[in-house]
Symmetry: C2
C-alpha cells in the first residue's frame, strides 16, 4: 500500500479532486464516522473564478490557492495525498492512482473538467488554455513575452501575429479575460510600451453561438457585448474555429486571423478515469449519476460537480450547468447523505438551488442575474467583487486579493507583469516521468488480480 | 537592426544586465546626455537578498521583482529590451544579442554571476541552484514535492533520501536557506505533516572552509553556527563535496549523504560573453577592469559589479567581495564618470566604502557587522529586516513583503506552500529554441563582417 495511512475502524471515503465540490464534501465530513482520504494532483485548492486575473497579471497565484494540508491541518483521521487517479476496479473496491492503489469503502469522483479541443490535435498543441493556475501563469508569460517580442521582431508579418490576441469562447471566462486584456491595453500599454501604439494591439473574441454568455439572459449577453465593444474588443458571433495553422486561426467561413496568442476557453469535457464503462458516460464525458449522485451501475461510487451529469432533477432534465454552485451544493448534500447512511438513515435527492450568476468585463462593468432581479454596470461589478472576495478561502488570501484590487483600481495598473517560469529540478522531472510510466503498468495488473 | 530604437543625436550607452549595478547606473543616467539601452534576459529586476524566502515559501516572487518597463516608464530616450548578450565585436562597436546586434558608443557589462559547479557535470545537472527567482521557485516546488513524496514512497531507502536536505555552501545564502528550512521543520511540519516526525527531516549544511560566513568576522561565524545548531541544522565544516551520484552527495573524505534535495549555493563565476579575450579574464571568470571600471585592452567598454574584478583599489588588492554594495557604488560612480566624460571632465577612480554586512538565520537570530560595532541576535535581526525592507524597490512590493513578514511572524507559518510550474505555451518554447540556435550563427557572421 503506497498510501501510508493508519488503519482505522471507520469506513473510508476516498475523494478524488479538491475543487469546489470535493472540498465542500471533505469539509463537511470533519468529525464524521468516516476516515477521509483526499487525493488531488495539486497540493492546493484553487479558486477558478479569479484565474483569469492571474493571466492578466492582476493578482498573485498564491492569493487564490490554498494548500490542502493547511486547510485540513487540525483534522482527525483525515489524509491528503498528492496523486492522480488512474483507474477504478469496482469489484475489488480499489482505486489505482499515480502513487499506487487504495482500497475504498466509498469512492467519490469530484475531479472536474479539462479543456475540450473537440479532437483537433493542432489546436490542442498550439492553443493556450486557461483552466488551471499553471496554465494561467503560462498565459501571462506568453502574453507579456509576445509584447516584448513584438517590439524587436524581424518582420512586419510576425509583428502583426504577435499583436493579435484571439480568444475563442464567449462564456464567462472568455469575456473576463478579453476585458482584462482590453484594460491592460488601455491603461498599462501606453505607459509600459511607448514603442507600441495601443491601436496596434487587436483583441478578438470568437463565439460559435449567436450570443455571449449563453447561460445567462439575452439582456446580460447584449450588455456584456456592449461593454466589450466599448473597450475595443472585436466580438465575433456565429463564428466557428476549425483549425490553427501557420500562426493563423482558421474559421469555418474560410477566413483566418493571424496570431501567436491563441487563447482557448471554448468548452470543457469531464476528466476521464480508466476502467469506467462507456455506458456510464454522458455528454462531454460526464459520468451519469442518479439523484443521489451515485454512479449508475456501481456500488458505493459517487460523482459530484462538473464531472457528473444528473438528469433526475426535474428542473434540469438535460443536466445541470457546470458551475461552482452546483458542485458545492452536491458536495454538501453528499456529506449529509453519507452521514445519514452511517446512521442507517434515508438519503435525500439533489435539487439545485440557483443562487444567480454573474460575469465581469472590467472596471465598473459587469452583469449579474438573480431570481428576483438583474443588474448591469457598476452595481453588478461591486456585487461581483463582494461575492468573490467572500468566497476566497482564508483571511490571508482575502487580504492579499483585496489589497491587489484596491491597488490596481487606484493605480489603473496590473502590477505583476513578470515573465517567469519555475526551473524544474532534474530529480523532480525524472520522478514525474517515472510515475507517468511505471505505475500504470505494474500496479494495475496486481490490482486487476485483486491484490 | 532588431532593436527598433529611434535614432538619437545622443551617444548610446548599452547596459547589459539590470541587477543592482546596472539598475543604479541606468537610474543615474536619467535625463543625461546619453541614450540608454538596457538589456536583460528577464523583464524584471530581482532582489537577490530575499530570494531564499521564495524558496522557503515565505514571500511571493512578485514581491521582490520589479518589471523594468515599470521602473523606467517615464524616461525619455530610454529603451529596455528583453535579450541575452552573446558576443562583443569591439572593433565595430557592436554587441551581438539573442535578438540581433546593436551598435554602442559605450558598453557596460553588469551581467553578474551564475552558480559555479567547478566543472563537475554530475553536480551541475543534479544540484538545485538558488541564484534566480526561477531557480528559487523550482527549489520550493522540489522541497515541497519531496515532502509529499516521502509520505507515500515505496522504500525506506527512498524515504531517507527524500527527508535529507543537503545544502552545500556556508556563505550568507547557505545559512539563510538552512535557517529558513529549519524553521519550516519546527513550525510548519508538525501541523502540515502529522505523518512525519520533525526529527526525521535532516538538514545538512556543508562548507569547505573551517568556518561559515568567511567574509565576516570569526565572532559572527561562530554565532551563526551556534544559531543553526540550536535550530537542529547539522553544520559540517572542512568538508569538500566531490560528486553527486545515485542520490548521494559524495564527500572528499569518502563518506556520503543520501539525499534528493541537493541544494548548491557554493560559489559563483562571472557570466561569460563571447569574443572576450582570455587575457581580459581574472579569477572566477571575472572581467579585469581598471580603477574606472574600464575593461582592460578595450575602448569604451566597462564592467561593473560581480562580473568584474578590480585590483586597483588599494584596500582590496585581490579585488572586491562580490556584494550588492560594491555593484551599487560602482554603478553610481560610472554614471557620474560618463556624465563627466560628456562634459570633457575628469574621471574619478573607484574606492569601496564598506557599509557593513549582515546575514539572518531565522526569527530573532541574525549577525551584523559595521565599521563601528558588531551585533548578534534579535537586534541584528531587526536591523536586517529594516535594511532589507528599505532596499526593496517600490511601495507596493515593500507593503507586500512587510505584510508577509508580519503575517508569518505572528502565525509561525510560511504561507505560500504551493507546488506550481507555469505551463509553457508551444509558441513560446518554439521561439526560445529558435533564438538559441539561429541567432548565434547568422547574425554573428554578419557582425563579424562589420555589417
Amino acid at each position: 500500500m503506497s498510501f501510508n495511512i493508519e488503519q482505522s475502524e471507520k469506513k473510508r471515503v476516498v475523494i478524488v479532486g479538491g475543487g469546489f465540490g470535493g472540498l465542500r464534501l471533505a469539509n463537511r465530513l470533519r468529525n464524521s464516522p468516516y476516515q477521509v482520504v483526499l487525493i488531488d494532483k495539486n497540493n492546493y485548492h484553487q479558486f477558478p473564478p479569479l484565474i483569469y486575473q492571474i493571466a492578466s497579471a492582476g493578482i498573485e497565484p498564491s492569493a487564490i490557492a490554498f494548500p490542502f494540508r493547511k486547510i485540513f491541518k487540525k483534522c482527525h483521521d483525515f489524509y491528503y495525498r498528492m496523486a492522480e487517479a488512474r483507474a477504478i476496479f469496482p469489484d475489488q473496491k480499489i482505486l489505482q492512482t499515480s502513487i499506487g492503489k487504495i482500497k475504498y469503502d466509498y469512492l467519490v469522483f469530484a475531479a472536474g473538467t479539462t479543456s475540450n479541443f473537440f479532437g483537433n490535435k493542432h489546436i490542442e498543441e498550439e492553443a493556450i488554455p486557461m483552466k488551471t493556475l499553471a496554465e494561467a501563469m503560462g498565459l501571462r508569460n506568453a502574453l507579456l513575452g509576445n509584447l516584448e517580442r513584438s517590439v524587436t521582431c524581424a518582420t512586419e508579418q510576425e509583428r502583426r501575429e504577435l499583436l493579435n490576441i484571439v480568444i475563442v469562447g464567449g462564456g464567462a471566462t472568455g469575456i473576463e479575460i478579453a476585458g482584462a486584456i482590453a484594460e491592460m491595453r488601455r491603461y498599462v500599454l501606453p505607459k509600459d510600451y511607448p514603442e507600441l501604439k495601443g491601436e496596434e494591439l487587436h483583441i478578438y473574441l470568437i463565439e460559435a453561438c449567436d450570443r455571449l454568455l449563453s447561460g445567462m439572459s439575452q439582456q446580460s449577453s447584449q450588455k456584456a457585448k456592449e461593454f466589450l465593444e466599448d473597450m475595443g474588443v472585436k466580438v465575433m458571433l456565429n463564428k466557428m474555429v476549425t483549425d490553427y495553422d501557420d500562426h493563423k486561426v482558421v474559421l469555418a467561413d474560410g477566413t483566418s486571423i493571424p496570431t501567436r496568442s491563441f487563447i482557448w476557453v471554448s468548452g470543457v469535457r469531464a476528466n476521464t478515469i480508466g476502467n469506467m464503462p462507456e455506458t456510464s458516460l454522458g455528454r462531454g464525458g460526464r459520468i451519469k449519476v442518479d439523484a443521489y449522485n451515485r454512479v449508475e451501475g456501481m456500488d458505493d461510487v459517487f460523482c459530484i460537480g462538473d464531472q457528473c451529469i444528473m438528469t433526475a432533477d426535474p428542473s434540469y432534465p438535460k443536466g445541470h450547468p457546470q458551475l461552482a454552485q452546483v458542485a458545492i451544493q452536491q458536495g454538501g448534500l453528499l456529506a449529509d447523505n453519507l452521514r445519514s447512511m452511517a446512521r442507517g438513515g434515508r438519503l435525500r435527492p439533489f435539487t439545485y438551488r440557483n443562487l444567480g450568476s454573474m460575469a465581469t468585463v472590467g472596471r465598473n462593468r459587469a452583469v449579474a442575474e438573480f431570481a428576483s432581479f438583474k443588474t448591469q454596470g457598476w452595481m453588478a461589478w461591486l456585487l461581483w467583487l463582494v461575492v468573490h472576495l467572500r468566497s476566497i478561502l482564508g483571511v490571508r488570501n482575502r487580504i492579499a486579493v483585496f489589497f491587489s484590487w484596491i491597488w490596481d483600481y487606484v493605480s489603473y495598473g496590473h502590477s505583476i507583469r513578470l515573465i517567469v517560469y519555475a526551473r524544474k529540478a532534474k530529480e523532480v522531472a525524472d520522478r514525474e516521468r517515472r510515475e507517468a510510466t511505471t505505475h500504470w503498468g505494474e500496479d494495475l495488473i496486481k490490482a486487476g488480480q485483486g491484490k
